[in-house]
Symmetry: C2
Subunit: 667 residues, 2 copies
């Protein structure tokens, strides 16, 4: 058996999430969490480590609750409008005045709210019921003892319990601690969480990228997630897939840290390696290896020296979901933080899709707010390592083992990654184009409340999304094979003539993408037939593939043959990739000599471009969305000089035309 | 006119909250917010200051998407179970291996997921469809070019827009920035917010308390609230109520800070002073002085040197509500942070009460979760400076100007102070006793999920709260005047015989509270009649007042007279305070020589106590709550040895008895 094959051999007794959790708490000997004393001003969001009793009375003295005159209540008995009582005003007392005044019989003091009651007085007559005249005051209403006086200790009494252990400190608690004069507070020390990434292919962000390496995502992302749930993250670096390196690092980390988290690389070897290390470091070692949950197979849960150790999947979206479901609740408990209920929202699936059969699945989704207030949840591939899926998922659905598929229109509960969902003001679903990004950033500059969102499902998907009301608009570039016309004919095809508006967007230059300097001297489509030229194709069904095949059909016709015969001769015709970017990348990285795509993607990485077509990239808009302000703003922008300039400078190959921003069809 | 009276003279043109906001944005010249570059690991929760484009392809090379064998797809055409293709294995490639392998015709390389594709190969055959035999591999299925290969740049392409300006950075964004190799990120600098408290009576927490002074609550609490909404608070201290001191401090603060916030003291003078200072510092100066909103009268909004200045009310609850409604949204905008929707919950009022007439009112409430899931909102006095109301309010109702009162059972929308409400597991509403605090902290030690909550409304209020199902239980100590029996007779009085359970709590020693050493040599109730003894009474309707009057009635009877005649002779009989604590505080602070109350409050501040009665403090429990685990735990605790010991050591004057924890009455 090869070394690679032997590393793959992992025997696991997969556990459910619930069983994993029970096993953990059964094996974990909870120890008293360390406490630290910190300054009040740094205490926000921390968790109180002890009950807080007041050491003082609040207020600490009897004080006036109103502006007016401090009197002896008995002196005012019998006073009324006709028979005011006349008292001698002997002083004025302001809040904070510590002079220690006193009144004798027949005397009063003018007093401000909050000022200490002078000796010999026991009530305050509100200023409204008095008339001061030089050194005398007329009192028109009697008061009873204690009236308009806040007694010492009446708010908080010495010895009173004010705050309880394990409360989280918010601005209110800060105020309360201040009220009793505390400038320091005992809080639970945050659990120290040592974080590793493992994989020979990983390098640290900031370092320069080398062949065969990728930047480590999980290290920084898991560190941030740890901080978010109340832990103190310490990232200890990237470990090679090497037993002794992993063992040594984990061993030393367990000295200082309360918890250790490692996330695996994409190969299966390291998962097994981490398993061996955790088991070898001490009892009980590994408690759970693998969850009966997609994507939890590579997850690991262990305890060594009484400290929890977690192994997370290597794919970032998977790592984050397992972190949310398994790790975060445990960190919160160890931080003595109050329970946090995960925020869940209800959303509807826009399509039917099949889930992992016979396994509970956490499915990342992207959420779109509907105008009537509901939510649509677009599923994303959870099993893929794609960073783009990681960046676009708002949360995940938790689909039970017994479920086979999610139906179109089916309602799902979505657990959010964050604490809240910010609804987009403009949703564009369809074929993606950098022109939309540019428009969004211009609209954002003009209106800070603008929040645009794109979901890339291709032009056909865009027609469907507008039809079902999921999108405000779709970016589309479908060419009708027979007429050669763009987009307009498809309104009928998709039954949208009566419910959608088509607005002209801009021209996109399509053509051949070749290496810088065009070393193979490719000039035209015919060059694809050359023995020394390697082509990279687009996926079937994409608008660009249709264009490629149109060109090849014309070529075939001029050669007196058919598309099949021509394509057989092209090296790489069978090698399909799914985006303009992937075509450019293949050429740039010498996987091919030539591809077909838009100029924009060729210019950024410094490739050469041979223009063959101008295609129309237009916007399909639900008629009911035309009244939306952000939609209007977008359409207006399309026809503006600023947008034209922005495309020219920022997106070579995209050009507005006379029709940009005009309506091509409406019901 | 006296100095105090002249300070009171404030002429204002009160504005609604909405108008205040409009006036602000009309006058504020929004300037470009400063940007700073910070390390990725410190970027959580910050706001992106620029669009982020990828400078690299992700992945940067073609890589294997599966474990298996890297091959030239064309070599595998025609392979099936019967006719495997045999290839020579020339190397093994692991993830991260940068050696740069290549394959010639008829060759394959064993490859791990994530490893770079060797030159000359264009597909991966999954390991499941192969059989390796030393230096050869049999391939049982054909692959097409690109199969199981993730192309360079297929995930993220050089030049692609990844994140947009003004997005808040969560762990996902951290991961995404890491993915493209960034170790630093440009974020908006947090707005620097200078915070002052003003009032001659204020001193800083941590300093020693002096007569006439109280600790500053708003300084620390507002600082924390500023941090919570994305500002960088800098507390610059407590200002005296002095024009030039306030002017100089504000003037110098405006040099560095982006925003200044002052909160007023309880007297009306400083509000006017702050108004003059803001107007004198520059144009436009004060924009709004006073809101048509209770408690917004003292609020101030100004702009000086293009910087917003806020004046908040002095009462902490008021300051926090005005901060939430007026200041926080502006700070968030200046921080370029995404909009945050305030969290609102729906709750029912347990009683009828009148609101400020003809004025919109923000009414702080305490929220109680009902077993069936609904919420009850107990109103708190918003106009009072009570710290206790500050500490107990969960949020506030926004009651419109036109509303006159809130009816019992009326539904209100409550805006939370925080982002979420943690429901209590046990709610006790009634007469407060430190014995409950002790029980709660013991229950919390046993079960970290336990969260007890008390609302203090007196014994009678407790009977009502249990009757209406608002409370799980009530602490009660009502004595029947005729029989002298505690609590039990009142089950019938309040119609609870068929729906509530009465559980014996513990004995509380009631008696006379006198100064340390008993300088006036008070021995018995009769001493209250002495000329040289000043008494402090309890409020009518309290259980303790009933007890006092019973003692005085007996005294009167022994003297052959009646209660009225006796009480006329007692100095201070008319001076009523509302709690045991207030009685103890009055004696401690020499406002009286003697009061009547429980031993517990006498001992903590070092007063002397002369025991006269043992009263029964019991627990009334809704029968439908008896099944709740925390209720059971509480009842069990009452009869336990540990609780008995805890009372003995921590609460002098509270004593369990043989019956503690037993049921006295049940339906």
């Amino acid at each position: 058996m090869s070394k690679l094959a032997s590393e793959r051999k992992v025997f696991r007794d997969l556990q459910s999430l619930e069983d994993a959790n029970s096993r953990f708490w059964a094996a974990y000997q909870e120890r008293i969490q360390a406490v630290e004393k910190i300054a009040l001003e740094r205490s926000l969001s921390r968790v109180l480590a002890e009950d807080v009793f007041s050491g003082i009375d609040v207020p600490g003295f009897d004080r006036a609750a109103m502006d007016g005159f401090a009197v002896t209540a008995a002196n005012t008995f019998g006073a009324d409008e006709q028979h005011p009582v006349k008292l001698k005003v002997v002083a004025e007392v302001e809040a904070g005045d510590s002079a220690g005044y006193a009144a004798s019989a027949g005397e009063a003091l003018e007093i401000a709210t909050g000022a200490p009651m002078p000796k010999g007085t026991d009530a305050v007559v509100m200023v409204e019921y008095t008339k001061r005249n030089e050194s005398e005051v007329l009192v028109y209403r009697p008061v009873s003892p204690g009236e308009n006086v806040t007694g010492a200790g009446s708010d908080i009494m010495t010895g009173e319990l004010l705050l309880r252990k394990s409360e989280r400190i918010t601005p209110r608690e800060v105020g309360l601690l201040a009220a009793i004069g505390l400038s320091q507070v005992s809080v639970f020390r945050k659990p120290r969480v040592a974080i590793f990434s493992s994989g020979n292919e990983l390098i640290k962000p900031g370092d320069s990228l080398k062949f065969a390496k990728i930047y480590d995502i999980n290290g920084p992302a898991v560190s941030a997630a740890v901080a978010e749930c109340g832990g103190e993250p310490e990232f200890l670096g990237i470990l090679p897939d090497n037993y002794s390196a992993v063992k040594d690092s984990l061993d030393s980390a367990l000295g200082d840290a309360d918890i250790a988290i490692s996330s695996g690389s994409t190969s299966s070897g390291p998962g097994d390696l981490f398993y061996r290390v955790v088991n070898d470091l001490g009892e009980p070692g590994v408690i759970v290896h693998g969850l009966t949950l997609k994507p939890g197979k590579p997850a690991l849960l262990g305890i060594v020296r009484g400290k929890p150790i977690f192994g997370l999947p290597g794919y970032p979206t998977s790592a984050l979901m397992i972190f949310h479901m398994l790790v975060a609740p445990i960190i919160r408990k160890l931080a003595n933080a109050p329970e946090v209920t995960p925020v869940k929202v209800s959303a509807v699936s826009p399509m039917k899709f099949f889930k992992a059969r016979g396994r509970r699945e956490l499915l990342p989704v992207q959420l779109i707010t509907q105008p009537h207030g509901g939510l649509i949840a677009y599923p994303m591939q959870s099993g893929s390592g794609a960073v783009s899926s990681f960046s676009m998922a708002d949360g995940f659905a938790d689909l039970p083992e017994t479920q086979e598929y999610v139906d179109e229109g089916e309602r799902m509960e979505i657990q959010l990654f964050g604490r809240e969902l910010t609804p987009a003001s403009l949703v564009v679903i369809g074929s993606h184009c950098v022109g939309i990004d540019i428009a969004f950033s211009m609209l954002k500059e003009r209106d800070r409340e603008f929040l645009g969102r794109t979901i890339n499902v291709g032009s056909v998907g865009g027609f469907h999304a507008v039809k079902h009301g999921e999108a405000d608009m779709a970016g589309v570039h479908l060419q009708d094979e027979s007429s050669g016309e763009y987009n307009l004919p498809f309104l009928s095809t998709y039954g949208l003539k009566e419910s959608a508006v088509l607005v002209r967007g801009y021209d996109r230059e399509q053509g051949l993408i070749v290496k810088h300097g065009n070393p193979k001297k490719v000039r035209e489509i015919r060059d694809l037939l050359r023995e020394d030229v390697r082509f990279i194709n687009r996926n079937k069904g994409s608008g660009t593939r249709l264009l490629i095949d149109r060109h090849l059909t014309m070529l075939a016709s001029s050669l007196g043959t058919d598309l099949d015969s021509v394509s057989m001769k092209i090296h790489g015709y069978g090698y399909e990739v799914k985006s303009h970017s992937a075509v450019a990348a293949a050429v740039k990285n010498d996987r091919a000599d030539v591809g077909f795509g838009i100029r924009t993607v060729a210019e950024v990485p410094g490739l050469d471009f041979i223009k063959l077509d101008d295609e129309k990239y237009d916007f399909l808009i639900g008629e009911d969305r035309m009244g939306k302000k952000p939609v209007q703003a977008f359409v207006n922008l399309l026809g503006s000089e600023e947008f034209s300039t922005a495309l020219r400078t920022r997106a070579p190959g995209l050009t507005t035309n006379q029709q940009s921003g005009t309506i091509l069809s409406q019901p």
